[in-house]
């Protein structure tokens, strides 16, 4: 049971993070909070991939002299993929911040309800 739990906990954690992010993105009324929730959601996927790379007893994927067997190193592929995904996340955040700054400069608010009111005028 204990090892069963430990083998699954990564999936549960990433599922919980994903749901937290999704909840924040859809339900928060403040645009900055939506953006933060978006980052939480991306982190959930990053964590999911990274936990796939894990091998019990494996070490960091950098070749050490004399050790050649495959199981001694964890899987490098998800790490490489997630470096790319992190950069994508950074870029998306940058663009979203630019949009928010433009909105804030014009309307003076980032609360969705106030924003809707001011857009009606």
């Amino acid at each position: 049971m204990g090892s069963e739990f430990l083998g699954m906990v990564n999936y549960w954690l990433s599922a919980i993070l994903l749901l937290l992010g999704l909840h924040g993105m859809l339900m928060r009324r403040n645009l900055i909070k939506k953006l933060m929730a978006m980052n939480v959601m991306q982190v959930a996927v990053i964590m999911f991939f990274i936990s796939l790379a894990m091998k019990t007893g494996g070490t960091a994927p950098i070749e050490q002299p004399g050790i050649t067997e495959v199981d001694a190193y964890i899987n490098p592929l998800p790490h490489a993929l997630m470096l790319t995904a992190i950069v994508v996340g950074v870029s998306t955040t940058g663009v979203a911040l630019a949009l928010l700054i433009r909105i804030y400069r014009y309307y003076g608010t980032l609360e969705e309800s106030e924003l809707l009111e001011r857009m009606q005028e």
């Binding site: 960091a60 950098i62 470096l83 911040l97």
Partner: protein
């Protein structure tokens, strides 16, 4: 960021670590083949240095990177990457097949150098773009007209 919030204390405090941070950024890029690190990480550290200088000493400081130069740096960085790919095409390999590059080295070292080249490209590109994004986000109030022109 039009107005730097520098003072003589901040100025002195930033002058000391900046060369070391730059050195560390170069180390992270170059040593990325042997240890954790690589183009993006090194570029981000380098960009942090430049942004630190910008914040403390303002946009016009010769150390800082103004936004046009940052854009040129970004283009050149990505261009270096894509250009190495085009070079490999010219020398008859597939796109980004570094092994065909005409370097006087053993085959695996040729690939090593090719990846080093693209890591440097990534680092330059990331530096330029991060400075550019910082600059765009902190640029003073641009006149906002309703049609966005």
């Amino acid at each position: 960021m039009r107005t730097p919030f520098g003072s003589s204390i901040l100025d002195a405090a930033c002058r000391l670590p900046v060369p070391f941070i730059i050195l560390f950024a170069v180390y992270v890029v170059i040593h990325g083949h042997h240890s954790p690190g690589g183009g993006f990480q090194g570029g981000a550290i380098l960009a942090a240095t430049l942004i630190l200088i910008r914040m403390v000493r303002g946009e016009d400081d010769p150390w800082g990177l103004d936004r046009t130069r940052a854009a040129i740096l970004a283009s050149c960085g990505v261009g270096l990457y894509a250009g190495i790919g085009l070079l490999t095409l010219v020398f008859g390999g597939n796109y980004l097949d570094y092994s065909v590059l005409p370097l006087p080295l053993v085959p695996e070292k040729v690939r090593f150098m090719g990846t080093l080249g693209i890591e440097i490209g990534v680092a330059l590109g990331v530096t330029g773009v991060l400075v550019l994004i910082f600059d765009a986000l902190t640029a003073g109030e641009t006149q906002e007209s309703d049609d966005g022109k």
